[in-house]
């Protein structure tokens, strides 16, 4: 319904990943809602959040999977984070993958615009990426400007239906080593996970396979603290109760930080901040600033298994004076 209602609306999202480790895809939702009713606003928010998260997850998967794995390692070291596994995109796009350089060591997303198309469920993502790759033992940079057209639907993951390469040219300057070290496979995997998890929380169950949800949904603990409402159960049951308490709405990722757990190789902690907007069970509009700390383990075959999720709701960023102490 919402698709139809807003199919002609122009949605533009600008995001800059640049060099910021915590940067995420973000932006304003529909510029001018057609209706002021709360239901309509919530519909818009859900549609926007679900589309953005699903597409961003696919985009993270695409770029992450282009980065070369560390093939020089021994079998014992195969669980290295830079060998982390990505699910494959459709074979239809194998040829498109060959136009990128070989031996890519890092990819930095410099900018992106998301536009909504006239066709229902179609979104266009215009991306500019700086690709660092090895050529004859020397690092080289290439700046690529390309457009992905996605088809989204309620029943399946978003599919790439067109890729258009606008420009591609060699950059003279070489990337600095910290940049090369940052934008690697694990960088994209953690973001792919975060966007997918948000889409899953908003009800896109078809995205679950991308984060191996069946392997941990009934094993990992999920603790939730929303004011005096507290839960500590397995993810599956806690998520259902938590969503029922919170109401209906959409999650948008605001920041991501992934770090290795000290002294525990292959164990990681993802610290994410989420903005949620929607309607509470009594029909009143509601907002939340949510912090989730997700612990996960990289299995030897490179799959990511969640061990625990801790969620607390923070004071939304409303006023400059709210942190003032007198």
């Amino acid at each position: 319904m919402a698709n139809k209602m807003y199919s002609r609306k122009y949605v533009r999202v600008i995001f800059l990943l640049a060099v910021f480790h915590s940067a995420t895809i973000s932006g304003e939702a529909f510029a001018s809602p057609a209706s002021s009713s709360q239901d309509s606003k919530t519909d818009e928010r859900i549609e926007y959040a679900v589309s953005l998260n699903s597409i961003a997850s696919t985009l993270m998967n695409w770029y992450g999977s282009l980065i070369t794995t560390n093939n020089t390692q021994t079998v014992e070291q195969q669980a290295n984070i830079e060998n982390i596994r990505f699910s494959l995109t459709s074979q239809l796009w194998n040829e498109s993958r060959t136009v990128y350089p070989e031996s890519i060591t890092s990819i930095q997303i410099m900018s992106a615009d998301m536009n909504k198309h006239d066709s229902p469920g179609q979104y266009q993502f215009e991306v500019e990426v700086l690709i660092t790759y090895m050529q004859s033992g020397t690092p080289q940079n290439k700046l690529i400007h390309e457009i992905f057209l996605f088809q989204t639907s309620d029943s399946s993951k978003p599919e790439i239906i067109q890729i258009t390469r606008l420009t591609s040219h060699i950059e003279k300057s070489t990337s600095d080593s910290s940049q090369i070290a940052t934008f690697k496979r694990h960088y994209y995997k953690s973001r792919e996970f975060a966007y997918t998890w948000l889409a899953y929380m908003d009800g896109v169950k078809t995205m679950g396979s991308r984060i191996n949800i069946d392997h941990w949904i009934d094993k990992a603990n999920y603790s939730v603290k929303i004011g005096s409402f507290e839960l500590d159960e397995k993810v599956g049951s806690a998520l259902s109760k938590r969503n029922h308490y919170l109401g209906i709405g959409g999650h948008l990722l605001r920041s991501v930080t992934a770090k290795e757990v000290d002294g525990k190789p292959h164990y990681f902690e993802l610290d994410i901040i989420i903005d949620w907007e929607g309607t509470d069970p009594s029909g009143i509009s509601s907002i939340a600033k949510i912090n989730q700390v997700i612990q996960y383990k990289l299995e030897e075959d490179g799959t990511l298994i969640v061990l625990s999720v801790k969620e607390k709701h923070l004071l939304p960023d409303l006023h400059t004076w709210q942190k003032l102490l007198c």
């Binding site: 004011g227 509470d280 939304p316 409303l318 400059t320 102490l325 007198c326």
Partner: protein, 214 residues
């Protein structure tokens, strides 16, 4: 002190310059919730017992020489604007961050200087910390050498102490937020003394007029 007043004055001006009367007051998820405390009559109460009333809640302590008298004066002014019928549907609550000093009796005597209808809440340190945490407020000790003699503090009322004893208190910095809570106990707006009075009253009236759902 002067710096704080200047900062607050500047914030007041900035707020006044950009008056926006919100026509929608969203619930702030995770800000607030039910808790247990001791009221000014010395009774244990649950915050949920205020359901059905619109609550204005602020933190502070009786020996605060800075913002607390200012905040309570502001709340007194807001409360006075409301009609007697509207006042019936509103409860102003002042929660101390110094429960060791602010006994129910002292808190009651302190609040009488502002309005007899205002309710003070105190309790154990654990109870107070729980309330502060639920509302995501903050406080911190500012006394550099433990407690200070109250005779050196500009304050509203004196506490009765046994003769021969020196009255001492700890000093705090604390959040200045005033929480506007609906009849269901959900936080719907966060304001402070810089919020123009008519804007704040409009928000209160909006919540008074909301129907109570189960």
């Amino acid at each position: 002190m002067l710096k704080k007043i200047f900062t607050l004055s500047l914030l007041c001006l900035l707020t006044a310059a950009n008056i926006t009367y919100a026509n929608e007051l969203p619930i702030f998820s995770g800000v607030g919730g039910n808790f247990t405390a001791i009221n000014t009559d010395g009774n244990v109460i649950e915050f949920d017992s205020f359901k059905g009333k619109v609550v204005l809640l602020a933190f502070g302590y009786t020996n605060c020489a800075d913002i607390c008298p200012f905040t309570l004066g502001y709340l007194k002014m807001i409360y006075k604007i409301l009609s007697p019928e509207e006042q019936q549907g509103v409860q102003v609550i002042f929660t101390t961050v110094n429960p060791e000093y602010d006994t129910p009796e002292h808190l009651k005597a302190f609040l009488k200087y502002f309005n007899k209808d205002f309710v003070g809440l105190t309790g154990t340190r654990k109870q107070v910390d729980n309330i502060v945490s639920l509302f995501q407020a903050k406080y911190q000790t500012i006394s550099t050498s433990g407690s200070v003699e109250t005779k050196n503090i500009r304050r509203i009322n004196e506490k009765e102490v046994a003769s021969g004893k020196t009255d001492k208190t700890t000093l705090y910095n604390h959040s200045v937020m005033i929480y506007l809570i609906d009849k269901q106990g959900k936080t719907r707006s966060i304001d402070y003394t810089g919020t123009p009075g008519d804007e704040f009253v409009t928000k209160i009236r909006q919540l008074i007029s909301e129907k109570e759902s189960s």
